[in-house]
C-alpha cells in the first residue's frame, strides 16, 4: 500500500500557494449557473403563501379562485384547517403557474381564515415568557468561595439578537420528474448527498431514483442542509403537474423562516485574585432560536476559569426556527465571555492584552498558539502604541478604541469519497458529490489532484455537485476542506500508483522509484530519465485508470482544533452614536492550507460578516404583531463596501502548523468579531454597550446610562 501523507514543504508546488479559484472566470462573467438560474423546458414557477401571523390556527383555506385562474396548474395546501402555526411566514400553501406573476396573483387569491392566538417574540423579557425550559446548570470547582475570596469582581449584562442567514440566493429548488419514478432536483444546498434521502423518503420513491444537482450555490452559512417542506412541495407540484417546477423563496420569507441564529442574553460575574488571575465565573444566560428554544452556549468560552457556574434557560418564541449559523453557539458564547473579561480588565485597570496573556494557560491545549497569535496581532495592530485605558481617548466627539477576542473550533474533515480518473489522453479528473458554497471546494480538490499528479491546476478537471458522484458529507462545521482534500489525495495517490506500475518497466525501475513532478513521470534518483505525463498515460490502452479514496482513511492527512485571535480598531462618534471600523486584524491557524488565496478570502469574509452582526444586522420583531419589521434588504442591514475599514489577515503556517494536516476554516474567524468590536467600542467611549448590534441608538443609550444595563 502506498503512503498517504502530504508532501514536505519544499516539495509542494501547488499546495499552500496563492492561486485563483478555478470557477472564478465563470462566476465573474455571469456564466456560472445557480439553482435560481435553472430553466427547463415547460418549467412552471411556484410561489408560496406565507402566514401573516406569529401564532394562529388555520380555520379555513379556500383555493378555488386561485385554481380557476388562467395559467395556474396546481395549488397545494401545506397546512390546512386545524393546524397551529407557530411563527410568521410559515408556509400555508403553494401554487405552480405559467409565470411568476400569475403564481403570485394566485397566491394572493387564496383565502385563508385564521384564529389568531397569543404570541411571544421578545425573549429578552424573560419575565414575560409564557414558557421557559428549565435552566441547565453546570458547576466546576468552588465558585462561591472564589467570589468571596476575590480581590476584585466585575458584573455585566450582555445580549446579542437573532440574526438571519440572509443568503443572497434564497432557499429553493427546481424539481423535475424524468418519468413517474425518477426525480432530479436542482437544489441550492450544502448537502448534495444528504438531500437524496430526504426527497426519497418524503416522496416515497427509492433513493436510487433521486438525483440532486448543485453546481453553484449563492451562500448557505449553515442554513441549507434540508430539503425543506417547501422543497418537498415543489417536487409534489412537479409530480402533480408533470412539469418541472421552480420554487425559490421570496426575500421576506427568506429572512423569516429560512435561517436564524439564536439570541443570547447573559448576566455575568467574574472574579480575579490580587495578581489578576481569573478565579471565578458565574453566568445566567437565556435565549431563543424559535419555538423549540435554543441550546446552551459554551460558557465561559475557551477560558476554563477554575471555579465556574453556568446556568442557561432556553426560551421558546414565535419566530422562525433557528438553523446552524456559522459556528453554532460560538459567536454568542464568545461575545458574552470576551466582553465580560474585558470589563474585568478595565475594572482592575489592566490592558486586556496583558490580562488575556496573563490568563492564557486557562485556554488549555491551544495556549501557546493563542499567546503567539496575540503577540503577532498586537504587533500588526500596533496595540501597545495605540491602546489607551478605557474612556481615555481624548476630548473630541470622535473616540478611538481597541478591542480583542479569541476563539476556537474543531473542523475535522467529514466522510468523503472521491473517484479519480486518469484518462489515456492524459486528462485527469476527480469526482466527488460535494458542493462549493463559495468557499473554494472546487479549487481545493483541483489543487490536491494537480499536486499529486505533478500537473498544473488547469490540466485537471473537478466534477462536484451531483449526487451521482461518490458520496461526500454536508458542508457544515468547517468539515469540507478536510474531507474532500483527504479523499482526493488518497484517490489520487491510488490512481498514480496504478500508473507508475504500468510505466515502471519502460523506465527500468521499480514503481516506488518513480515520482510525478512537473508534468513528468521520472526516476527519483535520476530525474533525466522520464516519460512525459502524456507518454505515460498513453500506455494505458483504451480504459482510464479509476481509483477511489476516502476519508477517514490511512495516514495522517487531517486534524481538528484551531485557535485564532482578532483585534478591532474603531472610531465612535459620541454625538451620533455611529461606530466606524478603522481596522481589523485576524490571526488564524487551520493546519495545512491547501489554497492560500481562498483561505484568506474565507477570513476576510468572516470579518465582514462579523462586522455586519456587530454593527448593523438583526431581526427586529414587532411585539404587537409578532412579525419581522425588517423583512427586506433595505432594513435588514448588511454592511457595504465602505463600512468594513482595513482588514488584515495573517494565517499561521509552517512548522508547528502544517504537519497537523488540513483543518476546516469556515467557522472559526466569524466567532470573534462581535466581541472584539464591542470591546473596542467600550474602550473608546468608556462604557459597555451591552448589545449587539452596536447601533447608534444603543451607543447613545449606553452613554446616557453611563454603562448601566
Amino acid at each position: 500500500m502506498p503512503e498517504f501523507n502530504w508532501p514536505e514543504s519544499d516539495r509542494r508546488w501547488r499546495i499552500g500557494k496563492h492561486r485563483t479559484r478555478v470557477d472564478g472566470p465563470a462566476k465573474s462573467s455571469g456564466a456560472a449557473e445557480y439553482t435560481y438560474d435553472v430553466k427547463l423546458f415547460g418549467m412552471l414557477y411556484a410561489k408560496m403563501l406565507a402566514c401573516p401571523h406569529a401564532r394562529a390556527r388555520v380555520t379555513s383555506v379556500d383555493t378555488s379562485a386561485a385554481e380557476a385562474m388562467k395559467g395556474v396548474h396546481a395549488v397545494r395546501v401545506i397546512q390546512g384547517p386545524g393546524t397551529e402555526i407557530k411563527w410568521a411566514a410559515d408556509d400555508i400553501a403553494v401554487v405552480a403557474a405559467e409565470t411568476e406573476e400569475i403564481a403570485r396573483d394566485a397566491v394572493n387569491a387564496i383565502k385563508v381564515d385564521y384564529e389568531v392566538l397569543e404570541h411571544f417574540v421578545f425573549e429578552e423579557d424573560l419575565d414575560k415568557a409564557p414558557e421557559v425550559n428549565p435552566a441547565q446548570e453546570q458547576t466546576t470547582g468552588e465558585p462561591v468561595q472564589a467570589f468571596s475570596s476575590a480581590k476584585a469582581q466585575s458584573e455585566g449584562y450582555y445580549g446579542c439578537r437573532v440574526v438571519s442567514h440572509a443568503c443572497h440566493e434564497s432557499h429553493g429548488h427546481v424539481a423535475h420528474w424524468t418519468d413517474d419514478e425518477h426525480l432530479t432536483v436542482f437544489s441550492s444546498t450544502q448537502a448534495v448527498t444528504g438531500l437524496v434521502g430526504q426527497f426519497s423518503e418524503a416522496l416515497e420513491i427509492p433513493a436510487a431514483n433521486v438525483r440532486i444537482i448543485c453546481q453553484n450555490m449563492g451562500g448557505g452559512f449553515g442554513s441549507k442542509f434540508g430539503a425543506d417542506r417547501w422543497g418537498i412541495e415543489c417536487a409534489r407540484l412537479a409530480r402533480q403537474t408533470k412539469r418541472p417546477v421552480k420554487l425559490m423563496l421570496e426575500r421576506g420569507p427568506e429572512l423569516q423562516i429560512a435561517g436564524g441564529r439564536p439570541s443570547t442574553f447573559a448576566r455575568v460575574k467574574t472574579a480575579v485574585d490580587a495578581d489578576g488571575n481569573l478565579t471565578g465565573w458565574d453566568s445566567k444566560s437565556w435565549g431563543t432560536g424559535g419555538p423549540s428554544g435554543t441550546g446552551s452556549p459554551p460558557l465561559p468560552y475557551v477560558f476554563e476559569v477554575p471555579n465556574r457556574k453556568h446556568q442557561h434557560s432556553s426560551v421558546p418564541a414565535n419566530i422562525g426556527p433557528s438553523r446552524a449559523w456559522r459556528a453554532p453557539n460560538h459567536p454568542q458564547a464568545c461575545f458574552v465571555t470576551m466582553t465580560a473579561l474585558e470589563d474585568m480588565a478595565a475594572k482592575i485597570e489592566m490592558d486586556p492584552l496583558d490580562f488575556f496573556l496573563k490568563n492564557i494557560s486557562l485556554t488549555g491545549v491551544r495556549a501557546e498558539t493563542y499567546a503567539e497569535e496575540l503577540k503577532l496581532g498586537a504587533q500588526i495592530m500596533g496595540w501597545k502604541r495605540k491602546w489607551r485605558p478605557r474612556g481615555q481617548s481624548g476630548d473630541g466627539p470622535v473616540k478611538r478604541g481597541l478591542g480583542l477576542s479569541l476563539h476556537t473550533w474543531g473542523g475535522r474533515g467529514h466522510q468523503s469519497n472521491c473517484e479519480v480518473l486518469i484518462h489515456p489522453d492524459g486528462s485527469a479528473e476527480a469526482r466527488v458529490a460535494s458542493q462549493d458554497l463559495g468557499t473554494g471546494t472546487r479549487t481545493v480538490i483541483a489543487t490536491v489532484l494537480a499536486e499529486t499528479f505533478g500537473l498544473r491546476v488547469r490540466d485537471v478537471t473537478v466534477r462536484i455537485g451531483d449526487s451521482r458522484f461518490p458520496a461526500s458529507g454536508a458542508s457544515g462545521g468547517s468539515t469540507t476542506v478536510g474531507g474532500v482534500s483527504s479523499s482526493t489525495r488518497r484517490g489520487a495517490i491510488n490512481a498514480l500508483e496504478i500508473l507508475l506500475q504500468k510505466v515502471a518497466p519502460e523506465l527500468g525501475v521499480a514503481p516506488e522509484e518513480l515520482e510525478a513532478v512537473r508534468g513528468r513521470i521520472r526516476v527519483k534518483a535520476s530525474p533525466n530519465r522520464y516519460l512525459t505525463w502524456k507518454q505515460a498515460t498513453g500506455q494505458l490502452g483504451v480504459n482510464p485508470i479509476s481509483a477511489t479514496g476516502r476519508n477517514p482513511g490511512p495516514g495522517k492527512l487531517i486534524d481538528s482544533g484551531v485557535g485564532g485571535i482578532q483585534m478591532a480598531d474603531v472610531s465612535v462618534d459620541v454625538e451620533t452614536g455611529i461606530v466606524k471600523m478603522n481596522k481589523m486584524v485576524a490571526i488564524q491557524d487551520c493546519g495545512l492550507i491547501i489554497d492560500m488565496l481562498t483561505a484568506e478570502s474565507q477570513v476576510y469574509g468572516a470579518l465582514t460578516m462579523g462586522i455586519s452582526y456587530a454593527l448593523s444586522e438583526e431581526r427586529i420583531m414587532d411585539p404587537v404583531t409578532g412579525r419581522l419589521l425588517n423583512d427586506d434588504m433595505e432594513f435588514y442591514k448588511l454592511p457595504g463596501i465602505g463600512d468594513i475599514g482595513d482588514l488584515v489577515v495573517h494565517m499561521m503556517t509552517g512548522p508547528g502548523y502544517d504537519e497537523r494536516g488540513v483543518i476546516g476554516l469556515g467557522e472559526p474567524p466569524v466567532i470573534s468579531p462581535g466581541a472584539a468590536i464591542s470591546n473596542a467600542v467600550a474602550n473608546a467611549i468608556g462604557v459597555r454597550v451591552p448589545y449587539l448590534p452596536l447601533t447608534p441608538d444603543r451607543v447613545l443609550e449606553a452613554l446616557e446610562k453611563g454603562g448601566a444595563a
Binding site: 485563483t20 479559484r21 470557477d23 472564478g24 472566470p25 465563470a26 462566476k27 465573474s28 462573467s29 455571469g30 456564466a31 456560472a32 449557473e33 445557480y34 435560481y36 438560474d37 430553466k39 414557477y45 409565470t99 411568476e100 406573476e101 440572509a166 443572497h168 440566493e169 434564497s170 453553484n216 450555490m217 449563492g218 451562500g219 425559490m248 421570496e250 426575500r251 458554497l437 463559495g438 451620533t576 452614536g577 455611529i578 466606524k580 488565496l597 481562498t598 478570502s601 474565507q602 476576510y604 469574509g605 465582514t608 460578516m609 454593527l615 448593523s616 427586506d632 434588504m633 433595505e634 442591514k637 448588511l638 454592511p639 457595504g640 463596501i641 465602505g642 463600512d643 468594513i644 447608534p696
Partner: protein, 207 residues
C-alpha cells in the same frame, strides 16, 4: 448601515436613497424621470394587463418577447431571455445584484419594467466578457478573489465597470462611495476594492 449615519460617512449607501446619491448611479433616477416626464396626461398609452410585445436589445442582440407590462426588466431577462447573470436577490432596488447597464448607465433591473427598457441598449456581465475572454475588471475580480459564492458578482462587475468609466483613477474613498449600491453577503469587499484599484492602475480598459 444605521439610519442617521451622516452622508459623508455612509460610504456603504446600502439603501436605494444612497444608491441614487452615488455618481455612477445618478442616471437611474434621471432615466426614470425622463421616461415618466415625457408622457403628458393626454398622451398616456394604456398597456396590459395582457402580455405586450417588447423588443429588448441585450448584449448587442435584438430580442423580441411578449410579457405582461408589469414584468420587470430583471424577470424578463432571466425568465424570458435566459440571461441569468443579473441575479434576483432583494427584488426591491437595494442590493445591486441585478445591476445592468441601460444605455451605458447602471440600473437595478429589478426596479425597471421591461417595457421601460424597450429599445435601450442593455448590457449585463455576460455582455462584458466570457470565461474565455474576460473583461479587465472580470479578470481583476478573479485575480483578487473578489468573489466567493459569486451571486452578487455579476451585478458588482457591471457596477465596477461603469464606476471605472466615470472614475478612471479613483481613490479608495471614491470606490467606497461609488460602489455603495451593491451588497455582498460572503464579504468580498476587500477583494473588490483591490480589483477596482488594480484595474484602474492598469488603465485604459475598453469601456
Amino acid at each position: 448601515m444605521p439610519e442617521g449615519k451622516r452622508p459623508e460617512e455612509t460610504g456603504s449607501g446600502i439603501s436605494r436613497r444612497d444608491f441614487f446619491k452615488t455618481s455612477t448611479a445618478g442616471a437611474v433616477s434621471t432615466a426614470l424621470i425622463s421616461k415618466q416626464g415625457i408622457a403628458a396626461p393626454g398622451e398616456v398609452t394604456k398597456l396590459g394587463p395582457d402580455p405586450v410585445k417588447v423588443k429588448l436589445i441585450v448584449n448587442g442582440k435584438a430580442r423580441r418577447l411578449k410579457v405582461e407590462p408589469r414584468v420587470t426588466l430583471l424577470d424578463a431577462l432571466r425568465n424570458e431571455l435566459d440571461v441569468t447573470g443579473p441575479k434576483k436577490v432583494c427584488d426591491r432596488g437595494t442590493c445591486g445584484s441585478c445591476t445592468v447597464l441601460m444605455d451605458g448607465k447602471p440600473v437595478y433591473a429589478c426596479s425597471i419594467l421591461a417595457i421601460e427598457a424597450a429599445g435601450n441598449q442593455i448590457v449585463t456581465a455576460e455582455g462584458l466578457g466570457s470565461p474565455d475572454k474576460l473583461h479587465p475588471i472580470q479578470k481583476a475580480f478573479v485575480e483578487n478573489d473578489a468573489q466567493q459564492c459569486g451571486f452578487c458578482t455579476p451585478g458588482f462587475i457591471v457596477a465596477c465597470q461603469s464606476f471605472l468609466v466615470e472614475n478612471p483613477n479613483p481613490s479608495v474613498k471614491e470606490i467606497e462611495e461609488g460602489l455603495g449600491g451593491n451588497l455582498c453577503r460572503c464579504g468580498t469587499y476587500k477583494g473588490i476594492r483591490e480589483a477596482v484599484l488594480e484595474t484602474a492602475a492598469k488603465g485604459g480598459f475598453d469601456a
